[in-house]
Subunit: 126 residues, 2 copies
DNA sequence: CCTGGTGTACTATTTACCTATAACAGTGGT
DNA sequence: ACCACTGTTATAGGTAAATAGTACACCAGG
């Protein structure tokens, strides 16, 4: 995994984990890698992973048990809530951003359709 | 203007200016506020504004003249190029993000339509 | 000429993030 | 009891961003 130097690493890892949970790659009850193993895998310090798990636990997305490990929540309502939050944020950022660039709703919609049809083209002139 | 503490302030100010240029709020030849005035207005340090102008000059979006001021480029081609870049980035982030959340292209499109129709509703269940 | 406004440059300090390293605390298997 | 694994906490150091403050360079108007 590579990181965007402009954004704190721990936030990027959190996003990645949340996406994996929301999309189903990680399921309720799944055991996360140990802080040390994950740190090694991500080429990152143990403290950074620790912070990730801590923050995600604060958000009720993970729970950690000393001596045992960290696990994905089995509370589907929370997962669904996170999914809606993340989708709403994506939608909001996108719509607001396009509006700020001067795109109407219609143009935004057609631009998205064009972009999806051919990401090899991707022309967004206008 | 308020700032997201997770992202460098100078980048946020740059984005804001670029959006204003692309959308036509700022036009070619327009004089930007002086670094000191802008810093005061944004409740930010002079050095931060200076960095903003410097970076935007590097991107050929502004040009600065010592003793006179900083001005928006009159090169429409550059403005158009920036607009396409920014739109493509928004589209890419959005589409990739939704895909990572497990949304198909069709669901992404319908979610966007639903979001735009009623931002008072904004349900994105699925 | 000089004054006020402009961009530009430099130093020093603070803060958040990341790192390295070590130690402490709890669990489970042998 | 021991040991290997787990999460957790603590200390110290490095870097980038933002800050405050100062100074320099340039231009236009009175």
């Amino acid at each position: 995994m590579s990181f965007d130097t402009r954004i704190p690493i721990y936030l990027q890892i959190m996003e990645r984990i949340k996406k994996d949970i929301v999309s189903g790659k990680l399921k309720g009850g799944d055991k996360m890698p140990s802080v040390r193993a994950f740190a090694k895998e991500l080429q990152v310090n143990v403290n950074t992973v620790q912070r990730v798990y801590q923050e995600l636990e604060r958000e009720k997305i993970l729970y950690s048990q000393r001596g045992i490990g960290s696990f994905v929540t089995s509370n589907e309502a929370i997962v669904e809530q996170i999914k809606e939050e993340m989708a709403r944020e994506l939608l909001g950022n996108f719509v607001r951003g396009m509006r700020e660039l001067g795109f109407s709703k219609e143009r935004t919609l057609t631009a998205l359709q064009a972009y999806m049809e051919g990401e090899q083209d991707g022309s967004v002139k206008g």
